[in-house]
């Protein structure tokens, strides 16, 4: 009885390791193909557009709400120390350094990750991926690499949008509380943000984009037969890319503290 259970757990662990290994091979191949011509420029642009049009409304709405909430929390804390004037800068730092990238990453993982997993999964089970290969098109390059690259380009841009939406939300909350004017609020927002913040946020979101694109493409490419397999690929793409994204965030924050000590202090 116990032996059987242990065996099942052992098998599950082995399966997980095997698919993790297969994913890393897939991701490694994607990294190589990202920089190797020919580049499918048209297809990448099409994917960026699809990704943007699907995610922008969501990003703007979520960013605004996050800005309002963060601003209210910051106000509760800073006001006690008589540091109300720091609210815009505090909010901006929180958004640019962590909240913006992470929330954008998770939203895109949910929206685009699910979309890519389902789309490529459906193409796999209806043999459209084989059909591309039969037409002598490198399906990995044409479908996976283009989507991964699109995620890597779109994520920093969407994060910037999220940051601005967040600041607008923060301004709305502050204006309601204190009647602060927009130009002053904006000026104060950027007081604590430096070039290092910009670089680290971009690096981080590009990595998030790679994770979302590669995990979702991998699961779509490996969808098994049937509509159930497509739904599976889609759900697992969201779950796996969200978890990997948060794990990588921990590592990236550590790395950024080492590379840019001024952010950590």
């Amino acid at each position: 009885m116990q032996g059987a259970a242990a065996e099942r757990v052992g098998q599950a662990v082995l399966d997980a390791l095997a698919s993790a290994g297969a994913y890393f091979v897939f991701a490694g191949r994607a990294l190589v193909e990202l920089v190797r011509p020919p580049f499918e420029v048209r297809e990448v642009l099409r994917q960026i557009y699809a990704l943007g049009s699907r995610s922008i409304p969501l990003i703007l709405a979520a960013g605004f709400a996050v800005g309002v909430v963060l601003s209210m929390h910051t106000r509760a804390t800073l006001e006690r120390f008589g540091a109300g004037a720091l609210i815009p800068a505090g909010l901006a730092v929180a958004l640019v350094r962590e909240t913006g990238p992470l929330v954008t990453g998770l939203l895109v993982a949910g929206r685009a990750g699910a979309g890519i997993g389902a789309e490529l999964g459906a193409m796999r089970v209806t043999e459209q991926i084989d059909a591309l290969e039969a037409i002598a098109v490198d399906a990995f390059k044409y479908l996976a690499v283009t989507r991964i690259l699109a995620c890597m380009i779109a994520l920093p841009l969407l994060t910037t949008l999220m940051d601005f939406a967040g600041m607008t939300g923060g301004f709305a909350a502050e204006a309601a509380a204190t009647g602060i004017a927009w130009p002053l609020y904006f000026q104060r927002s950027f007081e604590l943000i430096g070039f290092a913040d910009f670089v680290s946020a971009t690096v981080k979101t590009v990595v998030f984009g790679f994770i979302i694109g590669s995990v979702a493409s991998y699961l779509g490419f490996h969808a098994t037969r049937g509509t159930e397999g497509v739904g599976d690929a889609s759900t697992r793409a969201v779950v796996a890319s969200s978890i990997l994204l948060i794990l990588s965030d921990v590592l990236l924050v550590k790395l950024i503290f080492i590379l840019f000590p001024q952010i950590g202090s």
Binding site: E127, Q128, E133, A134, A136
Partner: protein, 248 residues
């Protein structure tokens, strides 16, 4: 081999998926410019055989030769070069469902020729007309019936004028009249020098198109020869096939 090379040759090909043995030591050769018909019950490995020829499936053992070249050993770029001279009609058509019917047919032209926009559209329209679907150019694949999708798939497979055309159940889902028209189209291609490999359940159409037929069963070729040879074959499976009418 060179000029004597078969267009397609299986040399002792074996293939299993897990425990399921699909092909066992299968060998055959198809002369250039001839039509080869593959018969067999569902699940006997007909589609798997076709996919070996275009390198979508690799054999566990044995060699698959195209124009004398072993494609099982080829690197991706070399395999792509071989594939550019082939056309493949998938059993379920496998149309790209995010683009129009016309763009599906134009797709290989866009990828592999330097033709201008007007020439590409003209050629795609011509191929759609060949399969009696002139009106479907702007339709989306999802809006077509199974038989129409099949014909679009055939138009896409033919659009680069391949040396070797592989078709998986071309007449499945077609009415008898359209089915005969597709037969006529395939016969015309063969006359023009295209090598055909046709998987079909439709015996009258197999008789009309194929120079030679092979019956697959239990992972092997049970019988092989002209339609007349198979008519005279006493094997019950072969007889069951040859006496059947249109299978679908």
């Amino acid at each position: 081999m060179s000029s004597l090379a078969a267009a397609v040759e299986f040399d002792r090909v074996s293939k299993a998926f897990g425990d399921r043995v699909v092909l066992q030591d299968v060998s055959f050769a198809i002369a250039p410019g001839t039509a080869f018909g593959v018969l067999g019950r569902s699940g006997t490995g007909k589609s798997v055989t076709l996919k070996h020829i275009i390198g979508l499936i690799r054999p566990d053992a044995g060699r698959v030769l195209v124009h004398g070249e072993d494609i099982t050993e080829l690197r991706p770029r070399a395999l792509a070069r071989v594939r550019r001279r082939m056309g493949f009609l998938f059993q379920e058509a496998a149309l790209f469902d995010s683009i129009t019917v016309g763009e599906n047919v134009a797709f290989p032209l866009r990828r592999h020729t330097r033709l201008g926009e007007a020439a590409i559209v003209a050629r795609a329209r011509q191929r759609l007309a060949d399969v009696e679907l002139s009106d479907a150019f702007d339709a989306m694949p999802a809006d077509l019936s199974g038989g129409m999708r099949k014909r679009v798939g055939l138009a896409r497979a033919m659009v680069l004028d391949p040396d070797i055309l592989l078709v998986d159940e071309p007449s499945a889902g077609l009415d008898p009249i359209t089915s005969r028209e597709i037969d006529g189209l395939l016969i015309g291609l063969r006359r023009a020098g295209t090598t055909l490999v046709v998987v079909t359940h439709n015996i009258p159409s197999a008789r009309a198109i194929a120079d030679e037929l092979a019956v697959l069963g239990d992972g092997r070729i049970v019988a092989r020869g002209t339609a007349a040879d198979l008519d005279a074959n006493p094997d019950p499976l072969v007889q069951a096939f040859m006496r059947a009418g249109t299978g679908g």
